[in-house]
C-alpha cells in the first residue's frame, strides 16, 4: 500500500513540475505535450495501483519461500489469507526440496508435496513423495535434459481429503528404487475412508506378510483381522475383534497353534479408543501377561499396525503444522476400562512426584564418587550405601515400573489387581529391611518414626505410603552422610588441588630450566626471584591447617604458579625483545671511507633507557616478593614497553631524547615514553 501511495505522489510531483516547465519554454511545447500525456497516464496508473493496494489488504497473498512443516523443510508456494492475525492457507499448495549437487556428491533427501487447502483445511487430492536417493554419478542427455539415475527408498502417500479428513482411498507405499526404477515394494497400506472413518476392508503389507482386516461402518475394528505370509495361503496370525473389542489372538505356527485370550469380554465398563501406539502397548501387556516369552514385536499384526500408524503420524504432523486437519485414521477399538477415581488419581500423581524426588536422591547417592571411596573405609557409610542400594532395587525399581504405566496413560486399561500382582508379586516390600540373609543377623534398616503401611498393593494409599517411606528414608540417609560427604569432598578437593599444585610447580621448574639459557641483561636474577616466590607461597600453603581458607589460598597459589610461569616465559623473551629493539633502532648508512654499508644506532637515548633503566626495573618487579598479585600488570607492562618502543622508532623524538638525558627514575622514564603502569608494588 505504501508503495502505491509513494508512486502516486511521485507521479503528481512530476506532473506539477513538468507543468511549470510548459509555461517557461513555450517554444518546446510539442515536446512538452508528450511529457504531459505521459504524466496523465502515470496519474491514472498511480490511482489504479493505489486503490488496488488499499483493497489488496484483504486479498489473498502469495507465500513463496522456505517453510518447515512436520519433518519437511523446503521451498513452499501457496496462497494465504490473513484472518485475525493468523495466516490461513487457501488454494493450491506446493512444497518441495531436491538438491542435484547433493545427489551427485553423496545423497539427497528429497520431497515433493502437492495438494490444496480450503479455508485452512486440506481439501481434495494430496500427494506426498519423499525419500533419500543416491546416484551412480553418471549422467546422460536425453531430449535436451540431463538424466541422472537415482537409487534409494521412496515413500508415496496419496489420497483425497475432505475438510481435513481422509476421504476415499488412501495409499501409503514404500518402494526400493534402483537406477530410477522400482525394484521392490517394501510396504503398502490401502485404506478406504469416509469422512475420516475407515471403511470396509483394508490391506497392509510389507515385503513378507500381508494384513487384511475390516471395519464396521462406524470405524470399529470387526471380525477377523488376519496376517498372511507370502509363502502360505493360510493365515499365520488372527486377531478376533467383536465390535472393536479384541477377544483373542490365534497364532499359527509349525510348532503348534496358540490362542491368547486378550480382553475381558465381561468387564464392568468399556471405552472406545483409537488403535494407536498406546493401544498396541496395552495389547502387548496382555500378551505378556499370558505368554511372557512371546515377543509381541515379532508378531506380524503388531508390527504392521505399528508401522502404518508411524507413517500416518508423519503426514499428520505435516498437516497439523499447516492448518486444521484430523488426518490420523481413527481405527476404532474398544477395551475394558478400569477407571481411577479422583482420590486414586491424586494418589498416583503424588506417588509419581515422590518417586521422582526419591530416585534423584538415590541416583545422587549411588553415583557419588566420594561416597564410593568412603564405603571402603567407613563401615557405617558402607551400611548406608547398602541400604540405599536395597531401597533402589526393592522399592524404587518396581515403583518406577508402576509409574511408567501411569505416564503412558495405559494404567486405566489394565486390570489393577493383575498389574499390581505382576509388579509386587509378594505385596509391597516390608518397611523393615533386613540387610543380611545370615541367620541371627540383626542388621536392618527401619525408619522407626515412620508409621507402618499395609502390604496390599491394590490400594493406592498403601503404595503412596511406601513411596513416602522411601523418600523419608533416603532423606534421612543423605542427612546422616552429608557430614562425611562434605568432609570427603573437601579431602578430595585438597587432593586434586595438591596434585595440580605439584604439576604446576614441576612445570614451572622445568620451564625455568629450559628458559634459562642466557644471563644477558641479568635475567637470571628474575628467574631466581620467581623460584624464591614459588618456594615461599608453597611453604605458606603447606604450613596452613586444613580449612576453607587453605583451599582458597591454594587456589590463589595455583593461579600464582601459573602467573609465574607466564612471567618466566616473558622474562626469557626479554633479551630477544631487546635485540629486536636494537635492530629496529638502526639505520643503514653508506660509510664513505670503507665504501660499505654500516648499521648505525639511532635514538640511542631511547634504547639506552630501555636497556639500562626499564629492563632492570621490570626484572626488579619480577624479583619482588609480591610478584604474584602483580603478575598480569607486569606482563602487560612488558608488552606495552615493547610496543611503545617500536612505535617511537618512527616518531619525532628530539624533545623526548633531550628529556631522557638526565632521567634515571624508571617510573619517570615510563611516563616520558607514554607508558601507563598499573604496578601496585611500584612504591617498594
Amino acid at each position: 500500500m505504501d508503495i502505491g501511495r509513494s508512486a502516486f505522489l511521485h507521479v503528481c510531483k512530476t506532473y506539477v513540475f513538468q507543468s511549470c516547465l510548459l509555461g517557461v519554454w513555450k517554444e518546446k511545447s510539442i515536446e512538452h505535450m508528450k511529457y504531459f500525456n505521459q504524466g496523465i497516464r502515470h496519474i491514472i496508473l498511480g490511482i489504479l495501483f493505489f486503490f488496488y493496494s488499499i483493497n489488496g489488504e484483504s486479498q489473498t497473498q502469495l507465500f513463496s519461500g522456505e517453510l518447515s512443516a512436520g519433518r519437511f523443510t523446503g521451498t513452499a508456494e501457496y496462497p494465504f489469507e490473513v484472518v485475525e492475525g493468523d495466516s490461513i492457507p487457501v488454494g493450491s499448495f506446493l512444497m518441495y526440496k531436491a538438491n542435484l549437487n547433493a545427489l551427485l556428491q553423496e545423497k539427497d533427501s528429497f520431497f515433493s508435496i502437492s495438494g490444496a487447502f480450503n479455508e485452512g483445511y486440506p481439501e481434495g487430492f494430496w500427494k506426498f513423495q519423499f525419500g533419500e536417493f543416491i546416484s551412480n554419478r553418471s549422467s546422460q542427455v536425453v531430449g535436451y535434459q540431463y538424466r541422472v539415475n537415482a537409487s534409494g527408498i521412496q515413500h508415496d502417500a496419496l489420497g483425497n481429503l475432505t475438510a481435513g479428513k481422509p476421504d476415499g482411498d488412501w495409499v501409503y507405499k514404500i518402494s526400493r528404487v534402483e537406477n530410477s526404477e522400482v525394484s521392490e515394494e517394501l510396504f503398502k497400506s490401502k485404506i478406504t475412508f469416509e469422512q475420516g472413518v475407515p471403511q470396509k476392508s483394508f490391506q497392509i503389507e510389507n515385503d513378507s506378510i500381508t494384513l487384511v482386516g475390516r471395519f464396521l461402518r462406524d470405524g470399529f475394528a470387526h471380525d477377523l483381522w488376519a496376517v498372511y505370509s507370502d509363502v502360505s495361503s493360510e493365515s499365520s496370525e488372527n486377531w478376533h475383534f467383536d465390535n472393536g473389542l479384541l477377544g483373542k489372538i490365534e497364532k499359527i505356527s509349525p510348532n503348534g497353534n496358540m490362542t491368547l485370550e486378550i480382553f475381558d469380554t465381561s468387564a464392568q465398563s468399556y471405552k472406545s479408543e483409537v488403535l494407536d501406539e498406546r493401544y498396541l502397548k496395552i495389547v502387548k501387556w496382555y500378551i505378556k501377561e499370558q505368554q511372557a516369552d512371546l515377543n509381541s514385536e515379532n508378531m506380524g499384526m503388531y508390527r504392521l499396525l505399528r508401522q502404518n500408524a508411524l507413517h500416518y503420524q508423519s503426514i499428520n504432523a505435516f498437516f497439523n503444522d499447516l492448518g486444521k486437519s484430523q488426518f490420523m485414521p481413527s481405527f476404532k477399538v474398544r477395551l475394558p476400562f478400569y477407571s481411577l477415581d479422583s482420590l486414586e488419581t491424586k494418589q498416583i500423581r503424588n506417588i509419581a512426584k515422590t518417586y521422582g524426588s526419591s530416585s534423584r536422591t538415590s541416583e545422587a547417592l549411588l553415583g557419588n564418587p566420594q561416597l564410593e571411596l568412603l564405603v571402603r573405609s567407613n563401615t557405617e557409610a558402607n551400611y548406608y550405601y547398602n541400604v540405599v542400594k536395597r531401597l533402589q532395587s526393592d522399592f524404587l525399581e518396581p515403583l518406577g515400573t508402576f509409574i511408567t504405566y501411569y505416564d503412558q496413560q495405559t494404567i486405566e486399561f489394565l486390570p489393577r489387581a493383575t498389574l499390581t500382582r505382576q509388579i509386587w508379586p509378594n505385596g509391597l516390600p516390608k518397611k523393615k529391611i533386613q540387610m543380611s540373609n545370615e541367620a541371627g543377623s540383626n542388621v536392618f534398616w527401619d525408619l522407626e518414626s515412620f508409621p507402618e503401611y499395609e502390604a496390599q498393593a491394590m490400594k493406592m494409599a498403601n503404595v503412596q505410603n511406601m513411596a513416602e517411606y522411601v523418600e523419608s528414608s533416603l532423606d534421612s540417609i543423605s542427612e546422616s552422610m552429608s557430614e562425611w560427604l562434605k568432609k570427603a569432598k573437601k579431602q578430595q578437593q585438597f587432593l586434586t588441588l595438591d596434585e595440580l599444585l605439584v604439576k604446576e610447580t614441576q612445570l614451572l621448574e622445568n620451564n625455568i630450566d629450559t628458559l634459562l639459557t642466557t644471563d644477558r641483561l641479568g635475567i637470571k636474577r628474575a628467574f631466581n626471584g620467581i623460584l624464591a616466590t614459588k618456594e615461599t607461597t608453597l611453604k605458606t600453603y603447606a604450613e596452613m591447617p586444613e580449612s576453607d581458607e587453605k583451599l582458597d589460598y591454594g587456589q590463589n597459589v595455583l593461579t600464582c604458579l601459573q602467573n609465574l610461569g607466564e612471567l618466566a616465559s616473558a622474562v626469557s623473551k626479554l633479551p630477544e625483545q631487546e635485540r629486536i629493539i636494537k635492530e629496529a633502532y638502526q639505520d643503514a648508512f653508506w660509510n664513505p671511507f670503507t665504501a660499505t654499508i654500516m648499521d648505525e644506532d639511532v635514538k640511542k637515548r631511547i634504547t639506552a633507557a630501555h636497556k639500562n633503566i626499564l629492563i632492570p626495573y621490570v626484572l626488579d618487579l619480577v624479583d619482588s616478593p609480591t610478584v604474584c598479585e602483580d603478575a598480569p600488570n607486569i606482563l602487560q607492562l612488558i608488552n606495552d614497553i615493547q610496543t611503545r618502543l617500536l612505535e617511537l622508532r618512527d616518531e619525532p623524538t628530539k624533545k623526548l631524547e633531550r628529556k631522557l638525558r638526565k632521567e634515571q627514575d624508571p617510573e619517570s622514564v615510563l611516563e616520558l615514553l607514554g607508558i601507563m603502569s598499573n604496578i601496585k608494588t611500584a612504591e617498594r
Binding site: 648508512f589 653508506w590 664513505p592 671511507f593 670503507t594 660499505t596 654499508i597 654500516m598
Partner: protein, 275 residues
C-alpha cells in the same frame, strides 16, 4: 665486481705507461753515475679526514693534515713542516664509485734551520680524484686516481711560482681482522701503495716524485668515526736532480669522521643511490 677489477686494472696500466713515457722524455738530463739515496727523514703526520654529506649524492671532502718533520734539533716528532688543507665537493656515483673536485691550500714551513729565507709560503692546487671500491670477500680494494694541478714556490724571497701536474695512483686494501665485515669494533689492516708522478716545465729528470708504501692499522669506533695509524716508507726523485732520491719514514695517524647534519627525512634513503 668483475667489472670493477677490470676497470681498476686498466686504469692502473694506462697510468703507469703514461708515467713511464714521461720519464723517458727526461733521459738527457745530467745525472750522477749512480742513483744517490739521501738519508731517510723521519716524519709524523696527523691527518684528519672529514666526509660531510650535504645531499643525497654530494659530500664535502674536508681534510686537514699537520705534518711534522724531524730536524737536527727536533728528532722524533720534529717541527711543523706543512699544514695542509684539502677540500673538495664529492659526487657519489654509486656505492663503489665517487669523484671529487676541489682545491688545496698547503702552508709550507721552512724546516731548514740554517735558512734565512721566508719561513712560511703557501702552495696552491686544484685537484680531482676518481675512486673505485671493489669488495673481494670481506676485504675491500680501492683504486684511487688523483690528479693535481700544483703551483709551488720556494722559500727564497720573491721566488716565482712553478706549475706542475701530479699524477697519482693508489691501490689500497682494507682487511677486517676481527670481523667478517666493517662495523663498529672492527680492527682492520690496510696496506697501500701509491705512485706519484709529476710533469711540467720544471720537471726535467724527476718524473717520479714519490712512491709511498704504507701499512696502517685501523679501528672503527663508531660507524661515523674511525681511527688509524701506520708507517709509511716513501722515496722519490728530487726535483733538482733525477739521480738523487729522497727517502722518508712517516708515522701517520688518521682520524676519519663522516657526520651527516641533514634532517632525518632527507637522509632517507641513505643508501639507495639509484632510486
Amino acid at each position: 665486481m668483475k667489472k670493477h677489477i677490470v676497470f681498476g686494472s686498466v686504469a692502473a696500466c694506462i697510468f703507469l705507461l703514461f708515467g713511464l713515457s714521461v720519464g723517458h722524455a727526461q733521459e738527457e738530463n745530467i745525472l750522477p753515475e749512480e742513483a744517490e739515496f739521501k738519508e731517510p727523514v723521519g716524519r709524523v703526520w696527523f691527518n684528519t679526514y672529514g666526509n660531510i654529506r650535504i645531499s643525497k649524492r654530494l659530500f664535502w671532502d674536508a681534510q686537514t693534515h699537520f705534518r711534522f718533520e724531524e730536524t737536527e734539533n727536533t728528532p722524533y716528532i720534529g717541527q711543523i713542516g706543512q699544514i695542509y688543507n684539502r677540500h673538495a665537493i664529492g659526487y657519489i656515483y654509486s656505492k663503489s664509485f665517487n669523484v671529487s673536485l676541489g682545491g688545496v691550500l698547503r702552508v709550507n714551513f721552512n724546516t731548514d734551520e740554517s735558512s734565512e729565507d721566508r719561513s712560511v709560503v703557501p702552495e696552491w692546487r686544484i685537484w680531482h680524484q676518481y675512486q673505485y671500491a671493489m669488495p673481494l670477500g670481506s676485504t675491500m680494494f680501492y683504486h684511487r686516481i688523483r690528479i693535481e694541478h700544483r703551483w709551488t714556490q720556494g722559500f727564497a724571497e720573491n721566488s716565482e711560482y712553478i706549475f706542475r701536474n701530479r699524477w697519482r695512483y693508489m691501490l689500497r686494501a682494507k682487511v677486517p681482522l676481527n670481523n667478517y665485515k666493517f662495523e663498529p669494533g672492527t680492527f682492520y689492516v690496510s696496506p697501500e701503495a701509491e705512485l706519484i708522478m709529476q710533469s711540467g716545465k720544471a720537471v726535467v729528470a724527476s718524473p717520479m716524485e714519490d712512491l709511498r708504501l704504507t701499512t696502517t692499522l685501523g679501528y672503527i669506533i663508531q660507524p661515523r668515526l674511525t681511527v688509524a695509524a701506520g708507517l709509511m716508507y716513501s722515496t722519490g726523485q728530487t726535483l733538482e736532480n733525477g739521480g738523487i732520491y729522497k727517502q722518508n719514514w712517516t708515522f701517520r695517524i688518521h682520524l676519519y669522521f663522516s657526520p651527516d647534519f641533514r634532517k632525518v627525512k632527507n637522509k632517507l634513503p641513505s643508501i639507495h643511490f639509484d632510486d
